[in-house]
Amino acid sequence: MKKFISLVFALVLTLSITACSSDSSEVSSQGDGKTISGELTIMGWGGGEELQARKQATKVFKKLYPKVKVHEIWLPADSVDQKLDAALAAGNAADVIMMSPDWKGLRTKWFEDLNPYLEKDNINVADFTPGADDGYLDPDGKREGMPTTQSDFMFAYNKEIFDKAGVPYPTNDWTWDDFKEISEKVSSGSGAKRTYGIVSHWILQSFAALPYGGTPYNSDWTKQTIDDPKTIKALELFEDLVKSKELPDDAASKSIPMDQMFVSGKAAMYPLGLFEAGEIANKIGKNFEWGIVLPPKDPNGKNTNIKFQTGFAMNKDSKNKNAAWAYIKTISMDKEVNDIYAKVGIPALKESAETTFSKLNIPNTNIKQTDYFNGLNDATTFPWGGSISKAADLFGQVWQEITTQKSSAKEAVEKYAPQIQAALDEVQQKQNK
């Protein structure tokens, strides 16, 4: 009898262990490729090489999860918002939805909280590239998504203009005061023959609050801080640059496309986004020698940079959450996928960023991409997207008043700070509902 009871216990124990292991493997990376099945729809955006990378990454997923039938919907970036919102409203949105932390909670109500999934699979966020995971956690702790890629800026400079002006090339430890001084020295000429210090790139508006440690708003975007003295001082820097024609004013910047201005030697510097680096390099060709440097630091030695991030979220109404999570996890954490993404951005996985990405050159050049990776330290997530786009438009007016020289930085701030605050208040009211 004792033997029989022992046998039953052993059987029950074996069965329960088998059951447990089978359950846990359903969302873990080992062995779940065989257990997860069903259909899965992915929705995202992109074009050119970026889109090819997304498709290749999906192929890797299909290889790992052969029983999952994947439907891919890739849209042009400018049509995503309307189509995604229509699909969400109609209840037929994809299981996995590409997103960005700069949406700032815009569609969070439609997304599954991924915290439990990370906990269950013991995902270590320290495996991510520094800053890659910024912004995926809402202020209330909900995890909206998982990172895929990042992209930031370097300042490209025309070595010939610098040499002609007798100005040493900038180094990675330069500050915005150095930048102002250099801009003045490398600018020359007048009218159509003017050589500007820097191109009026659209991203400068996002840099505009940062040079002296300021920010456009506080960390949970509840209060505008453009009337903070540090931010005003930064805006005054750009006001000075425009007044002294080191930065083209609104009219001059419309006279010639910004990339042409740099490529044709009409500006000494250009804020070069990783996403456009290859294209600009191709346009420069052998016109002149050029280099890249980190954007200037603030007085505290903190790196000022703007980063764009993309990731994936799970539709909370997905019928196949296991497969959705498997896809999101694979895209974020799989080395092969991250090596693919390294060709079009800074991948989320630190290992791929440090090895594959950093070894690559900017296409068509022998300039290493490493500094783009280094530039992520302290970089600010693009501040003006998603739910705060109304505040963004108002800040755009501040920038326009400065670049059209309609009013001083201080006057523009006085005029628009209350309106920006009202716009942020509206966002809070909506999100608290």
Partner: protein, 298 residues
């Protein structure tokens, strides 16, 4: 016989509904339903997904009491309508007069030439005009430089951006010209012959015959111009994005931004209905005044 007639009537009636049903269904689903739904949205804080909570008259209050861009965009749009509509009426009338000259050979080519801009892709033409207005390299300022005039920063100067858009609008008056021309060609030739016998000059004929008899066409163009003018969107959207400093920010841009950029469908619907009511009132006023200046032969 009567039974046969009734059957035929019934089958004709069925055919009527069968053939008109695609339009009726399309109208009900794609026009009437959205129109009714947009009225419901006025009283909600609906977002891009069209769902929201009941907020009473908050959206109407917001438009009139809390939104500075409501008045700014309305003022800009009125500026556009007040200047652009009469200007395009005058120019199109003058061009139509020239195109009505039957003695010039190849008039068809001229008529086609004036009409072509109206049917060319709006965005492409607008981008082209962006270059024409370019302060440094643009054709207009280059032309002005021959007279020693330094042209303004058309699209970067708050005072000149809206005039630039109005000037650009004249490029696409081909349709108004064709309608006016059709009106002019409808004027009986005998009236001019009688006037010529009486010794009337060409100017007299224009002011005393052509202009009065063209008033029904002008009235039609005026009403259509006002309706279209209040809905001006594409030109400032592409050319200036509403800038500089909101100088070309029109009412339609304000509706678009609130609906598709800020996701405030409830508020955008409110703005749209305010615009509809405004256009309706102005059109009714213009219609009322027509009895004082529009001449109908019959």
């Amino acid at each position: 016989m009567k039974k046969k007639f009734n059957l035929s009537m019934k089958s004709e009636s069925k055919l009527f509904y069968l053939y008109t049903s695609p339009f009726i269904l399309g109208f009900l689903i794609f026009t009437l339903y959205p129109v009714i739904y947009s009225i419901i949205l006025i009283f909600t804080d609906a977002d891009m997904t069209g769902t929201g909570q009941f907020v009473g008259l908050a959206n109407i209050k917001k438009a009139f009491a809390q939104d500075p861009l409501f008045y700014k965009s309305l003022k800009n749009t009125l500026y556009f309508v007040v200047v652009s509509v009469p200007l395009s009426l005058i120019v199109s009338f003058l061009v139509a007069l020239l195109l009505n000259n039957k003695k010039i050979k190849g008039m068809g080519i001229f008529r086609t030439t004036f009409y072509i801009p109206y049917i060319t892709a709006g965005v492409a033409v607008t981008l082209l005009w962006g270059w024409i207005f370019n302060a440094q390299y643009g054709l207009i300022n280059y032309f002005l430089s021959f007279f020693g005039i330094t042209g303004p920063n058309w699209l970067s100067d708050s005072n000149w951006a809206m005039p630039a858009i109005i000037i650009m609008g004249l490029w696409t008056i081909g349709n108004t010209i064709i309608i006016t021309l059709a009106g002019l060609q409808d004027i009986p030739e005998q009236l001019y012959e009688s006037a010529a016998i009486d010794g009337a000059s060409r100017l007299k004929m224009t002011t005393h015959i052509t202009l009065p008899l063209a008033t029904p066409t002008l009235f039609f163009n005026l009403v259509m111009g006002i309706i279209g003018g209040f809905q001006v969107f594409m030109q400032p959207f592409v050319l200036t994005e509403g800038g500089p400093n909101y100088a070309t920010y029109t009412y339609m841009m304000h509706i678009y931004n609130n609906a598709f950029k800020y996701g405030e469908m409830g508020y955008a619907s409110t703005l749209a209905w305010i615009l509809f009511i405004l256009i309706l009132i102005i059109t009714l006023i213009v219609n009322r005044t027509s009895k004082y200046w529009v001449y109908y032969e019959n």
